[in-house]
Symmetry: C2
Subunit: 393 residues, 2 copies
């Protein structure tokens, strides 16, 4: 007879992440915060009700893969083409500055020597804070009626593009940690991954267009998309040594212009992931967060990291916007609008820990930074917009 | 670094079960048949591409649990009340006769002595063929415009009730195999399970009514339903020693009259299960089907079992219908309409194998019987209806 405790674990995770998620929504925090807290409180460093198991780890991994696929397929390439270059510049600066600043804070705080290995570790910490989570900003702008302004459009597109750039950065970093000793081989493998993705994109996009012409609304399309997403994740990780979530994201991106089926597929993925997979992912990150490893040093690091993460996005994206000719006020709004981090940051942190490049003891500091950046965004954004007498183009 | 092959396994299972499922649909067979074939062909007794792993076993188990929950929540208690006693008599006879006949065939064919243990094993084999899968019949009757006749209504209700009776029979059988030596304790535990279910029904039904009044259309209802279903499955298996799928089925039944949320919850369960969980279940049953264990003896047994499974339902349900005052023609249609078996039969077979009560070598015979019963139903049904000049009340 098998052990059935995984059923109970799943039930506890589902119920607790939802209860805590709803509670955090009540006090105007994203549900993710509650889900993380559920994992922390019920996990090994809290009441010890939940423990990480091989099964839960795999379910969580599928959760991450589905989240990234959904992010990919939700990318609106048409919209990106409109805002084009401006959003690209903002996104690039918004990845670069946090990468350098947050990585730098890590290097200086922990007095790391300037070796390749240490720089790689610092880059991993920095890359956690590269990708924006724009949900809260969209909500705030929408509430203030500023979403359809030029600033709002650039902000949204830049947030999409910085996901892509963030994922590419992660791929490169993961590639260098994959155990291949030669830098040349790593670079070739990463390059080959993108060539591979290009070829697959060409073939599968056509194939899906064909299938979805007739059956765009039938289960098979969603199931084939999932199989495709899993194969891409597997290949990315096993063959090319880049992260599986990179594969999942590009699988989504490849299908994002199969217009008819796109929403259908995205919806089925969303239902499947929120019903079981992503709650397990958030809870499992929470479970890994060992509060007992917190000490004065980590707390001080957390405080500095929070400041670096917020400031670096404002400076990076703000500068980018300014370089594109936006007014100082607009640039400030763009910068602040990109401060919030969420799911993608958690996934990158998780990958960094898996690859042995991020010390798990830093997880409390990273989570704290993610939560505070999410909380600070709407407050700062309202302040910044109102500074310009509430007007914004 | 973890092994990522589970991603590839999942992808292969999803793609192959769908391709084979669609192919079998093309030749007018249920998709389940194709999914089973995919597992047989790619599994250890075929090309050996797929192997059962701990992860896949757990995913398959969740698939079964979700299927049973959906069967429970889809039960229309109001409809059952209408046809009431008549359907109940048909269902009871339709469980009893196949149980005795198919179990008897097993006892006689394998020359089993008449010990308690052997009778229990035979009952397990018999109980596989207790529950009807009415999908094909509904399709056929609908196509012939006979679904809304009195015969059709009794047939539908009886098929629902025989799920419930089948599950109760399975619970009792599983209880007796759970390792408790004393018959008294087993009976008390089974009785306690039903008391427990009654109490839980009272509390949770009220609770869900309350929650779903305001939020019937929000994710939380579906997630709580899933957590509830998992806890019920766990308790059924671990505390009361009855099968986990019994717990899942009653969890669904408990929520089947939370009218507002019912369809919403059922839909979310359906999406989540067809996207990933049930294909793994069907494939894993296929993977367990060792064609290499097939020999002349098993083939002859399969042939006799097919006949017993078909005849016993026709006799059982037909007699039941006759006892309720239906005409001989109507009774024949009811009997034939109940011949088809599918998912539930597979689940019971799986449980029997897990409990060590069904020899895995019998699986090919059982699957063959399920497939042939499903194929024979529409043919026989059309013949029977047309025999009465195509008229049916």
């Amino acid at each position: 007879m098998d052990n059935y405790s995984y059923l109970l674990y799943l039930a506890i995770i589902l119920a607790s992440t939802k209860v805590f998620g709803l509670a955090s929504e009540k006090i105007h925090m994203p549900q993710v915060v509650g889900a993380l807290l559920a994992g922390i409180i019920l996990g090994p460093s809290g009441f010890g009700v939940l423990h990480s198991t091989d099964f839960l780890t795999k379910v969580a991994e599928i959760g991450v893969i589905m989240l990234m696929f959904t992010a990919g397929i939700d990318t609106d390439l048409e919209e990106l083409k409109h805002t084009g270059l401006h959003a690209f510049v903002v996104a690039c600066m918004g990845v670069l500055v946090p990468l350098v600043m947050c990585g730098g804070v890590y290097m200086i705080f922990f007095r790391q020597d300037f070796t390749t290995y240490n720089v790689l570790k610092a880059s991993f910490v920095g890359s956690v804070f590269a990708a924006t989570s724009v949900g809260i900003t969209v909500e705030t702008l929408n509430e203030m009626g500023k979403l359809k302004t030029r600033t709002g459009t650039i902000l949204l597109s830049a947030a999409l593009i910085d996901d892509i750039i963030g994922i590419i950065v992660l791929s490169v970093l993961t590639g260098f940690c994959s155990g291949d000793s030669s830098v040349g081989i790593v670079i070739i493998k990463i390059a080959l991954f993108f060539v591979f993705t290009g070829v697959v994109a060409f073939v599968f996009n056509k194939l899906f267009m064909l299938v979805s012409k007739e059956h765009w609304h039938s289960r098979r399309v969603a199931i084939w998309a999932l199989a495709f997403c899993l194969v891409m994740s597997y290949c990315a990780e096993k063959i090319f040594g880049v992260a599986d979530i990179t594969g999942a994201f590009f699988a989504g991106l490849i299908l994002c212009n199969v217009t008819k089926s796109r929403q259908f597929v995205a919806k089925k993925f969303t239902v499947t992931s929120y019903m079981i997979f992503t709650p397990v992912f958030f809870a499992s990150v929470g479970m890994k967060t060992n509060l007992r490893s917190m000490n004065a040093s980590i707390l001080i690091f957390a405080a500095i990291l929070v400041i670096a993460a917020i400031i670096s996005k404002i400076i990076g994206c703000g500068l980018g916007a300014k370089m594109c000719g936006l007014s100082t006020h607009q640039s400030l709004v763009v910068g602040i609008g990109m401060v919030s981090r969420s799911e993608v940051a958690l996934m990158v942190a998780q990958k960094g820990i898996d690859a042995g490049m991020i010390n798990p003891n830093l997880l409390p500091a990273i989570i704290l930074t993610i939560i505070i950046s999410a909380l600070a965004t709407p407050v700062l954004l309202k302040l910044a917009i109102n500074k310009g007498n509430g007007e914004l183009e």
